[in-house]
Subunit: 440 residues, 2 copies
């Protein structure tokens, strides 16, 4: 059914992915405090048969500098697991993926929350596993600051292992519910966890029925070597960032090749790069939409955003029209840092140009054009083994998602590249990824 | 408006509060995995103008013994914060209170989740703060087992302090949202937390707008000396358990008297004991309803439940028709343990009798009678300064809640003891409890 069809996610974000979206006349400036707005977006994506909505997270405000914070809508939204539950009971088929940290949670607590989200959505929950690279986040939780990249991933690996064991502690049909005979549960179908690791001890049983998907979908975005290995071992979907066809193909081949060493098939993991589409009836209309957004960015906001993507405290002491300075590797998100450095070198971009570029698409692939042009570009990457699908990041909500749903999705459907109807009821069924077998 | 009216909570629980509820022909045996059932109950309580629904929690299954677990519906429900979010978007006026642990969470993470729940419910969220007394829970999180009572409360106090500071880190109106001028936030209205305590370090700002209630409602149920002090310092509502009028009056006077030393008024905190009502058109019809439920309890399930309430591993080696053995104080819920011991001595009850008694009402005050009889009893305690309201714990859902809503609530309204319409939109407005001033 779907091996020759692409998968689509709708990456929701208050305002839009463009840093100045909130200032646009079509934006809902107060989106981050209005649940009905998010419900509207999820239902819009569901009508267009998107596989899932995707919600990012960091348990912190995103901007330390008060002057920047005063100009940029980067600080307020809903805690994503609460948001997911609210969306679950207002949708029926679309998958619901939210981000949660292995650094600031415990496996039993997070596993039971995702089990609950899977239960209350009827099998549509997914967990985007992150290790939390922001020092602003670290300051809300620990006194010792941001932990090094390697340490975070070591903990993440043990976390994922413990969480999946919790999900697998209850078999399907463990709760018999025979009122007449007084048989509530079949103890033979409950398998107490016996996880005694470096970071966590878990020795209980999941406190709910087995979730409809068995295991909620696992999503990851890490692009470091250790991140790609973790994904190849535990993820069902990888959300990635790639500017060029070559980068995307290389990443795709790399991650797929890692699956075999963990006993997995190429189809067991879907790779879905981000794409920021700006759709117009004509190319010049699309370009005008883009320019209207770009004009709303104050330079200092763009530069501060770029600095935070590079895990730098500040870039404002460097000439705006000069190149990026040399910089050491950080403990932040190494893949995003490298992507920015590469783009700056490849296209010889100044700090100001890079800042404006990233303010629009947050480091992701940007497409500005007609529905046919955008479908062409997506089809090329899909057929070129650069992507199994895409995580769509509209610069502006709701209009950017509405444009994609109304104009690009039908074009993809016309080409047979995207579904007309949902294939199943669970997220795994629609994505075509199996529930991994219980580890014995 | 409401000083002479009682407050009512509906304590929801899969199946019902009676241990054998799931076996009753009117029960929804699969309630713990059916979100529509919980939505139906919350909407039923809202139609009856209840102040709030209340959801308990322990991050663990509740029964270690597989034989008991196979007969008792004590193991499965929704993680309560996800459940709360799902209820929030399906109701409009009723308060939504969920339990969360200070032992197995971190203050920033929990504070932002309750801020989100308050935001997405339009100011109707409440947090029932617990320190988690179950060793089954401890085994899901830590290798060192259940922490001693005093240590848990010391952490809880610091946790509550840090969480309220997080809520207060954002003033009302901090997010200006002036798109034209490009002014998103007013940094003068953001107050970074500077909490560096024994257990937690938090130095950030809440990542959302100030929540509609300023601070979500704080609920507590601790009845130890240190628990009552924590409540007097930080709680807006105390959920308590009392069998007799005398016990209830003594508890009420004790907690209210503690408020002054924390600079608070008697009205700043509402005391709402639990009550388990079984309503019939006649007293004998009510009694028959009770008996039908009691007949569904296997003795060993009742005795195991009693043992767990006493924080004992086992009681089955004592004669069923003899008295409770002497027992040492435990690190579990000391107040519940004492209540059981007192009741056993006062009424000279055997283990079997105590077991059957607690299997029905979980240690709470039980009322079996006509709507007039039940209203009489509630009125007596309300007027007798034993309660500001009640947390209603129907033995069986949905019928037990429906009975109370259809027959007892109108009787209370007829007497002027309960509202006809919600007074406000937020939980605090309806309960008549102020948002505490920001500590400087």
């Amino acid at each position: 059914m779907s091996a020759d069809q692409m998968k689509l996610g709708a990456f929701l974000m208050a305002g839009g992915h463009h840093i100045a979206a909130w200032r646009h006349p079509d934006a809902h400036a107060n989106a981050g405090a209005d649940i009905s707005h998010f419900i509207q977006l999820a239902q819009m994506a569901e009508r267009a048969k998107f596989d899932m909505v995707f919600i990012e997270d960091a348990a912190a405000i995103r901007e330390r500098n008060p002057e920047i914070a005063s100009q940029a809508a980067r600080s307020t939204s809903f805690e994503p697991l609460s948001l997911l539950a609210a969306l679950a009971v207002n949708t029926s088929h679309i998958g619901l993926v939210a981000t949660a940290s292995t650094t600031y949670n415990e496996p039993y607590g997070l596993a039971r929350t995702f089990a609950a989200l899977d239960q209350l959505s009827g099998g549509r929950a997914g967990w985007n596993l992150v290790t939390s690279a922001s020092d602003l986040e670290a300051e809300n939780f620990v006194s010792s600051g941001l932990r090094p990249h390697g340490q975070r991933y070591e903990r993440a690996e043990e976390f994922a292992q413990a969480a999946t064991t919790v999900w697998d502690s209850v078999d399907e049909g463990a709760y018999v519910l025979d009122a007449e005979q007084g048989v509530y549960a079949d103890p033979a179908k409950l398998h107490p966890v016996d996880h005694r690791g470096t970071h966590f001890t878990v020795t209980g049983v999941l406190d709910s029925q087995r979730s409809p998907q068995g295991r909620p979908l696992m999503v990851q975005a890490g692009a470091s070597d250790v991140g790609k290995d973790l994904a190849a071992r535990t993820a069902d979907v990888v959300f990635s960032a790639a500017q060029t066809m070559g980068e995307a193909q290389a990443f795709y081949a790399d991650v797929k090749a890692r699956l075999a060493k963990f006993g997995r098939q190429a189809d067991d993991l879907k790779i879905m790069p981000g794409v920021s589409p700006i759709v117009g009836e004509t190319e010049s209309e699309a370009r005008a939409k883009y320019d209207a957004l770009q004009e709303l960015i104050p330079d200092q906001v763009g530069v501060a955003l770029l600095a935070s993507y590079l895990s730098l405290k500040d870039l404002s002491n460097h000439p705006l029209d000069g190149p990026l300075p040399d910089m050491p590797q950080t403990d932040g998100i190494q893949s995003r840092q490298q992507l920015i450095i590469d783009l700056g070198r490849r296209e010889n971009l100044s700090i100001r140009q890079l800042a404006r570029h990233f303010a629009g698409a947050r480091g992701h692939w940007q497409l500005i054009g007609t529905p046919v042009q955008i479908a062409d570009a997506l089809e090329e990457r899909f057929r070129g083994k650069a992507a199994d699908g895409f995580n769509v990041m509209p610069p502006l909500f709701p209009s950017g998602l509405d444009d994609f749903a109304r104009f690009v999705v039908p074009e993809l459907q016309r080409r047979g590249l995207f579904r007309q109807e949902y294939e199943g009821r669970t997220l795994r069924e629609n994505l075509g990824v199996r529930t991994p077998a219980r580890s014995s």
